[in-house]
């Protein structure tokens, strides 16, 4: 962090953002056919979703398996506001996202009042109950017959349609990343990270943890709703079974975890990897259910061995392999610790201390 404030680091960072943005924005021009372009839209949609998820997952450490439901709500909200209330498409999109955010308040109230496990339970229950409601309330939602969302630009040919939505998704991704970055560097973000580290301790330092969690959950829900609504406008056909699917939420988690939840671009990278991996599994395992097995095993491996994300883990490994001369931050500290020890010339009881902390954490 200290180094990052140096001008060179800053310039390199800005340059990287520009190159990354250029790479994303030039993709439609490079895509040889509409199919590749539409695949790009899907990946961007994943990226927005997992970045939105990461507002909660990354900052607070609360893992939601139900964000798919929030995206579904955004999608159906947008569609219904267009078809039933006659709002213009993009007005409907914003209104729907606001509604999803508003709905996140009571949901968050029930889910976040108590710790951990109940949050996950509520998040899963959210998907299941919304599936039931949207399936059953056929007079409003069309139920299993589905709901057709009118195209916002009816005159556009399909390839053009993809192109326009590619840029819309890219803009939304930019917005989500910007918001994440702003929170990350703010005092609010520091408070959230404190919650992730130790919620009791954060509370004892005077952070109103419940309010913080609720606010960030609402922000996350709003972005997820936007992503879902934009998807509805792009895709055009909604069906409760696909909108309120538990797998959508789990893919968001997988993407964010793969890329690393503590990083601004972690979920984006994860979305690229998962987007490609899903294609690969499908091609590789053809007409069997093994793609589910692959997803499950991958998730289990990440959770067991690389809970901070695969890319951070690989990054750490590369650092150790290729830069033995330049010590990692941990080794620097170890050295400092040795100095410290020498200075104090005193044997300590790190073992007892560590054991004590484990007890305390339970």
């Amino acid at each position: 962090m200290a180094i990052a404030r140096r001008p060179v680091g800053r310039i390199v960072q800005v340059a990287m953002v520009l190159v990354l943005a250029a790479a994303v924005l030039s993709f439609p021009a490079l895509a040889p056919n509409p199919y590749i372009l539409s695949a790009g839209v899907v990946v961007l949609n994943y990226a927005v979703l997992s970045t939105s998820w990461n507002f909660v997952g990354g900052f607070t450490g609360y893992i939601s398996l139900g964000h798919g439901a929030l995206a579904g709500l955004g999608a159906y909200g947008t569609a219904l506001l267009v078809t039933r209330a006659g709002l213009p498409s993009f007005v409907a999109l914003v209104v729907a996202a606001l509604l999803v955010a508003a709905l996140a308040v009571p949901i968050g109230f029930a889910a976040l009042r108590v710790r951990g496990a109940s949050f996950v339970i509520v998040s899963i229950a959210l998907v299941l109950i919304l599936l039931l409601v949207f399936q059953s309330w056929a007079s409003l939602t069309g139920g299993s017959r589905g709901l057709v969302v009118p195209r916002p630009f009816p005159g556009l040919l399909r390839p053009e349609h993809h192109r326009v939505f590619y840029f819309l998704f890219a803009a939304l991704l930019g917005l989500a990343l910007l918001a994440w970055w702003l929170i990350d560097r703010s005092r609010f973000g520091l408070g959230l990270k404190a919650i992730r580290e130790d919620e009791d301790k954060a509370e004892a330092l005077g952070t109103p943890t419940f309010a913080y969690k609720l606010v960030v959950f609402v922000v996350s829900a709003g972005f997820t709703g936007l992503a879902g609504g934009l998807y509805a406008l792009w895709f055009g056909d909604l069906d409760p079974v696909f909108q309120f699917s538990i797998l959508t939420g789990s893919y968001m988690v997988l993407m964010a975890l793969l890329g690393g939840v503590r990083n601004l671009f972690g979920p984006l990278v994860g979305a690229l990897v998962v987007g490609i991996a899903l294609e690969y599994f499908k091609v590789e395992f053809g007409d069997t259910q093994l793609h589910l097995v692959a997803t499950g095993v991958l998730l289990a491996l990440v959770v067991l061995f690389m809970p901070d994300g695969v890319l951070p883990a690989i990054g750490g490994l590369l650092n150790r392999v290729f830069r033995p001369a330049q010590n990692s931050i941990r080794e620097v500290t170890a050295a400092q610790l040795r100095d410290q020890r020498a200075a104090e010339a005193e044997a300590r009881e790190p073992v007892d201390a560590a054991a004590g902390r484990r007890e305390g954490a339970r």
Binding site: G61, Y62, I63, L65, P106, F109, A110, A111, R113, V114, R115, G116, A117, S118, V120, I121, V122, I124, A125, L128, I129, L132, V133, Q135, S136, I246, L247, S250, V253, L257, T288, Q289, L290, H291, L292, V293, A294, T295, G296, V297, L298, L299, A300, V303, L304, P307, R358, E359, A361, R362
Partner: protein
């Protein structure tokens, strides 16, 4: 206004269903009590057991009830291994969250493997006594449903006796209530926790067999079960086995009765309404269970 006969019939169906819910929720509660783990894969194992029962009947010609001779010990072993080899590896600080993801991953893997082995086709055991029934004060009770209920009741009773009357049960309860204290009085809590998981998973084996007797099974069916079960354990008070059993009976009955005016789909929402109401107004649950306050 529904007729008295229909109401009575619904009450009976609700109780029969509630019994099965109670058994399965007991397992789920056990895991939570032992390790604060929400075991998403519980219902996936349930479906796995149901498939094994179906398979042994249709391929080997064995009565599905006999499949329990294999599945119950098998699942017990799986549970012990699951706890010792996988869940115990997770860092205590993030255990609750990461264990959900891990068991979720296991559930998806089981679903995928079932789909690979048996395809996505819906399966149903074809029993000679499948459509047999007998009358009771004007209501009809299907023999298979009664067997399923009986299985659940016997398993629950066994669990109860095990918990209350044996040394192992004493150690398990001590581990659940205060792990550190249990360790201080010489209980090997790690080992006990592993066995507790095994017992929890064994309930899934029994439940799966009971389930297979009278319903269709397919690989993704477990999602259909995990939602109501999670609602039950929260309403019953996380970590309280009797609470879960009570909540299961009440909600099973409510679901069955609500089907009369509301229809199948809306009746299912009772579970989630109860869940949200519980968390919003009484997070510690309605039937005891003090653990919930902290989680």
């Amino acid at each position: 206004m529904p007729s008295g006969a229909l109401l009575f019939q619904s009450v009976i169906l609700g109780l029969l269903l509630g019994g099965l819910y109670a058994l399965l929720a007991a397992g789920l509660t056990l895991y939570f009590g032992i390790m604060r783990v929400v075991m998403i894969a519980h219902s996936a194992f349930l479906i796995l057991a149901a498939y094994l029962a179906w398979w042994s009947h249709s391929r080997l010609g064995v009565d599905p009830l006999l499949s329990m001779i294999v599945t119950v010990p098998l699942f017990f072993g799986c549970g012990v291994l699951l706890q010792r080899l996988l869940l115990a590896r997770l860092r205590p600080v993030t255990l609750t969250m990461m264990s959900v993801l891990l068991t979720f991953a296991i559930a998806v893997t089981i679903e995928g493997l079932l789909g690979y082995a048996f395809t996505g086709t819906q399966r149903r055991i074809q029993l000679g006594y499948g459509s047999a029934s007998f009358g009771l004060f004007g209501a009809r009770i299907a023999v298979v449903k009664l067997i399923a209920f009986g299985l659940a009741a016997v398993a629950l009773l066994t669990l109860y006796l095990l918990m209350k009357k044996t040394t192992f049960g004493w150690a398990l309860r001590a581990t659940i209530q205060h792990r550190d204290a249990a360790r201080l009085v010489g209980i090997e809590t790690e080992r006990i926790a592993g066995y507790g998981f095994g017992i929890g998973l064994a309930t899934a084996a029994v439940g799966g067999t009971a389930l297979a007797l009278d319903t269709t099974i397919y690989p993704s069916l477990h999602w259909h079960w995990i939602g109501p079960l999670m609602a039950i354990i929260v309403v019953g008070g996380l970590g309280s086995v009797p609470g879960a059993a009570m909540a299961a009976m009440v909600l099973g009955l409510a679901q069955s009765l609500l089907q009369i005016p509301l229809g199948t789909t809306w009746a299912q929402t009772i579970f989630y309404l109860a869940l949200f109401a519980t968390l919003a107004f009484r997070p510690q649950g309605f039937f005891g269970g003090r653990l919930a306050q902290r989680f």
